[in-house]
């Protein structure tokens, strides 16, 4: 199955290309757009981006593997990034990560038993004054305790419906 962007997103791409003197410069924003639609950067997405920007797929693949925010495997509908760097670690970030591993029943880069959350660790997210913190999808959650984090995760879990297609644990051991 080949990947295509929605008509609405294609318009954004057309505008993006006017911003730069070279087509290639749209590579990062275009990958972001595709990931937002597809949930991850699949091989089909790589092929689409390469074709759209007149690049070799290997060039696009090289970009994808360089940056941590492009998911190279399917992820759950919610991605939880726990900041592990020093300022958060000094204020209990490590305990938050251990707690989430226990709660989700998975390790880092794994997905929770219910398929709703993928757990990742992040390097400094520039929220050191509000440590410890986690990023869930687009939102920063700061000044956390285990209790306040649990409450946030409870709320998101209640709003999340996992479809068979979304569940990255589907069909895997």
């Amino acid at each position: 199955m080949t990947f295509t962007l929605s008509a609405e997103s294609e318009k954004i791409v057309d505008e993006l290309l006017t911003r730069y003197p070279q087509k290639r410069a749209a590579c990062l924003p275009l990958l972001h757009l595709c990931q937002r639609q597809e949930g991850w950067v699949s091989p089909d997405v790589v092929a689409y981006v390469a074709q759209r920007l007149s690049l070799a797929t290997s060039e696009v693949q090289g970009v994808v593997t360089f940056y941590t925010m492009y998911h190279q495997q399917p992820v759950a509908p919610n991605v939880v990034w726990v900041c592990r760097t020093l300022s958060c670690d000094l204020r209990g970030g490590r305990e938050l990560q251990k707690h989430l591993e226990k709660r989700f029943g998975c390790g880092l880069n794994g997905t929770s038993q219910d398929g709703k959350f993928t757990l990742k660790s992040a390097e400094c997210l520039a929220a050191c004054g509000q440590a410890p913190m986690v990023q869930i999808n687009d939102e920063y959650h700061e000044n956390l305790s285990i209790e306040s984090l649990d409450k946030i995760v409870d709320e998101i879990a209640a709003e999340t419906v996992v479809t068979a297609r979304q569940n990255p644990t589907n069909g895997k051991s």
């Binding site: 290639r24 940056y67 990034w81 760097t85 020093l86 209990g92 520039a126 929220a127 687009d138 305790s145």
Partner: protein
């Protein structure tokens, strides 16, 4: 709390301060209008030079001098690129500008584009900063609709387009040439210099890369006059006020504006509200992001010679030396991003070093062997020490690895890893040897700050 003049952050507390409507009557874009309709470009650059503003991204290079490196005879217009890839561990100041007052940054971009003759400005923001990106984009759109950004800003023939360009998660893209590669859609690997970006930068054109805070200061520099703005500082050749960050074991972590030349003691005990736990005194502080070597409060300045840059502070504690680019360099560390990480007596320095070397080994771009291998080895050896699998001799191994990274790579990343590593080893050597004998007690870091409520804040 001390009463410092608030200049750069003076609109932070206005409700909805990120919208033009909220700050229009507070002088927003007045200086950009003046820059386009009244001032000669050279006059703007001259004010910035007079302001003695040292780059706020960490290297501390004078911004006015940097602009002067653009070739005078270039046939293509230069680009302005704003480095908003804030990612140095411990650093969280630029984010406050983008979230609380994005229009101040945009106004600074417009004025800088006028000063250097640029027609396009890219603001390279790390993609994790979703709120910053949203507010910047909507602020640019507001400025476009007003006619400030676009083909004829303030009715003047000087195209000035501003675009937000999202990164994708790579600390190294804060290095200016890696940032340019990333902007061009490539892997964010630093480039060999020369040519420097001012000569050959984005898309092969002359390019000025400046930090968010540096450019957001330009409107106030022009409004007050470079000399008057510079005089806000307590130090010579390092002007103005700046944003200080403080995090870790303090009562009031956050971002605070204060004159250049504040002491670390003032930052921790006045602005930061003092140590978090009354019974746990200050053990060490990383002054300006994780790449800057650690300071100890018990270390005393020894500078008896009259001509020594630290002579005025001879006999005082390191944390009583004013925080400036030159004073901190003379102390053997760096001012960096001016965002301090404070650690109390419960902190184990081997654990701290291991945390940070994990960061560097994850973030090394892998282009140069000494850095790719060195960061990995430093982290591996430290992991052994932390888990009780190390040996006392590992201390010398760490020194050896760090020494072989310094100066042997394309960019400053390896030096920014080796310098703090050597700082920890020099100042806490016994602690590393002890870890080689017995390991490190479990949960040293987190145990010191369990169950904290909503203590964090922002100035």
């Amino acid at each position: 709390m001390p009463d410092f003049p608030i200049i750069l952050s003076n609109r932070y507390k206005v409700p909805q301060s990120w919208t033009l409507r909220a700050i229009e009557s507070l002088g927003a874009y007045e200086m950009a209008r003046k820059a386009f309709t009244e001032l000669e470009p050279a006059a703007i650059a001259a004010e910035v030079k007079d302001a003695n503003i040292r780059g706020r991204g960490g290297a501390g290079f004078p911004a006015g001098v940097k602009w002067g490196f653009l070739p005078k005879d270039s046939k293509v217009a230069p680009y302005l690129v704003i480095n908003a890839d804030e990612g140095e561990p411990g650093t969280f100041k630029d984010r406050t500008i983008m979230e609380r007052d994005p229009h101040r940054l945009i106004e600074g971009c417009l004025m800088t584009m006028r000063a250097i003759g640029a027609n396009v400005c890219y603001i390279y923001v790390r993609c994790e900063l979703v709120t910053s990106i949203k507010r910047l984009e909507s602020a640019i759109e507001e400025a476009r609709q007003k006619g400030y950004v676009g083909e004829r800003p303030f009715g003047v023939e000087h195209t000035a387009q501003i675009y937000v360009h999202m990164g994708a998660g790579a600390y190294i893209c804060g290095e200016e040439t890696a940032l340019l590669n990333s902007l061009e859609g490539q892997r964010g690997e630093p480039r060999l210099k020369p040519p420097f970006p001012a000569v050959k930068g984005a898309f092969g054109a002359p390019t000025i890369v400046n930090n968010v805070e540096t450019i957001a200061s330009v409107p106030d520099i022009v409004r007050m006059g470079g000399k008057a703005w510079s005089a806000q500082s307590r130090l010579p050749r390092d002007g103005g006020t700046r944003l200080y960050g403080v995090s870790g074991h303090v009562k009031k972590p956050g971002v605070y504006e204060a004159p250049v030349g504040l002491t670390m003691r003032e930052l921790i005990y006045d602005l930061g509200g003092g140590m978090l736990h009354a019974d746990r005194p200050l053990k060490a502080v990383i002054p300006g992001g994780s790449s800057t070597p650690v300071l100890r409060p018990g270390d005393i300045v020894h500078a008896p010679e009259d001509n020594h840059p630290l002579h005025p502070w001879h006999g005082k504690s390191h944390i009583d030396v004013p925080m400036g680019v030159d004073t901190y360099r003379a102390l053997g560390t760096m001012l960096g991003t001016c965002c301090a990480i404070v650690m109390d007596s419960s902190t184990n320095m081997v654990d701290v070093a291991c945390n940070l070397m994990h960061f560097y080994s994850h973030e090394s771009c892998g282009q140069c062997t000494p850095c790719r291998e060195g960061t990995g080895w430093l982290h591996d050896v430290l992991k052994n020490l932390v888990t009780g699998k190390g040996r006392p001799e590992d201390v010398d191994l760490l020194v050896d690895v760090a020494n072989n990274m310094m100066g042997n790579t394309i960019c400053a990343f390896a030096d920014g890893t080796a310098m703090p590593m050597l700082g920890f080893l020099q100042k806490f050597r016994e602690e590393f040897i002890e870890a080689g004998r017995r390991g490190v007690p479990a949960h040293t870091l987190g145990a010191s700050a369990r169950a904290l409520g909503a203590l964090g804040g922002m100035a």
